[in-house]
């Protein structure tokens, strides 16, 4: 009985240690997926958000991208478009954030692949965007390329992927 309780205690301590280790020293995959998750929260606009909150969100949103970032999207019914550089992304984000009563952005089924040198990563996910209570902009497969710049994981390229060709 004593041995069993000691083994159980050891297992609990081991599990706790592992959890603490991963919490304090997360691997790059976890950091990148965390960035994707917080990007969704930043891009989500609530109906009650005022102009200052929206402007702050635009500023925060821009903070996820590298200076030479490119966003390329092709949405059924909206056509294809590409945004290059922070200025163009900021301008489009400001217009988009101001033009909707609310916006809900979700990145689902996200998986990250980090390069062997741990300086870049590619995230594949499904993005779901809806505006207001009913207007659905659709669901798209999305690929995000991250690069570690000055210790921060920034998006260098974001592009929609056509699930049906």
């Amino acid at each position: 009985m004593k041995i069993a309780s000691r083994v159980a205690l050891l297992a609990i301590l081991g599990g706790l240690g592992f959890w603490l280790w991963t919490a304090f020293f997360p691997n790059p995959e976890k950091i990148v997926l965390g960035r994707v998750s917080s990007l969704a929260a930043t891009a989500t606009i609530n109906a009650g958000d005022g102009a200052i909150t929206r402007a702050t969100k635009v500023s925060n949103f821009i903070g996820y991208f590298s200076p030479d970032a490119v966003i390329s999207y092709d949405v059924t019914g909206f056509g294809a478009r590409s945004l290059s550089g922070l200025d163009e992304i900021r301008e489009t984000a400001a217009g988009g954030f101001a033009g909707v009563s609310s916006l809900k952005v979700q990145f689902q089924d996200a998986t990250a692949r980090v390069s062997p040198d741990k300086q870049s990563a590619e995230v594949s996910c499904t993005v779901r965007v809806s505006a207001g209570d009913s207007k659905e902009f659709g669901i798209q497969e999305l690929r995000l390329q991250f690069k570690k710049i000055a210790g921060d994981w920034l998006i260098t390229r974001a592009e929609t992927v056509k699930t049906l060709q």
Binding site: G77, C125, T126, Q140
Partner: protein
Amino acid sequence: MVQDTNQSSGKPDWRQIILIGRRPEATLVRIVVLVAVCVVTFKFILLPIRVEGISMEPTYHDRRVNCINRLAYWRHEPRRGDVVAIRYSDPGPLAKPSQMLLKRIIALPGESVSFHDGQAYINGRLLEEPYVKNGCDWDHAPIRCGPDQYYVVGDNRSMPFDYHMQGRAERQHIIGKVLL
């Protein structure tokens, strides 16, 4: 002195029998097995889904609940006419995708699809589609499927061609067949 007749006879109380059975250990084992079977079935084999949108009307209505059979293509490849679930990004080999497309296969690998006056043609031959109830005027030049591609389209063709999500789906994106 009053004595419980059940206790005196050693028989369990009827309430206990209803709740946990005559042998609680066996009941516990049955519950554990049942839960395990349900978890495995509905997490990995039959994926519960809720239809969103009108692209499969009138066969599948908006907000209808259904299941996707992941083992449908274990022994054979998808067939023409099958209504299948197609995933977007890959969540991992066993994980259930959060979002899926529900479409019907009309062309198989290597075949070409074209639309004339709202009718689908496979390799130039008219495809009988009794499930399409909403007529359309789609016209589109032939599109050839690759060796690992299936052409999928919804049953509701009342919207313009460009607004209807359709096209060639890779085999690896096809999760399974709709159950009902």
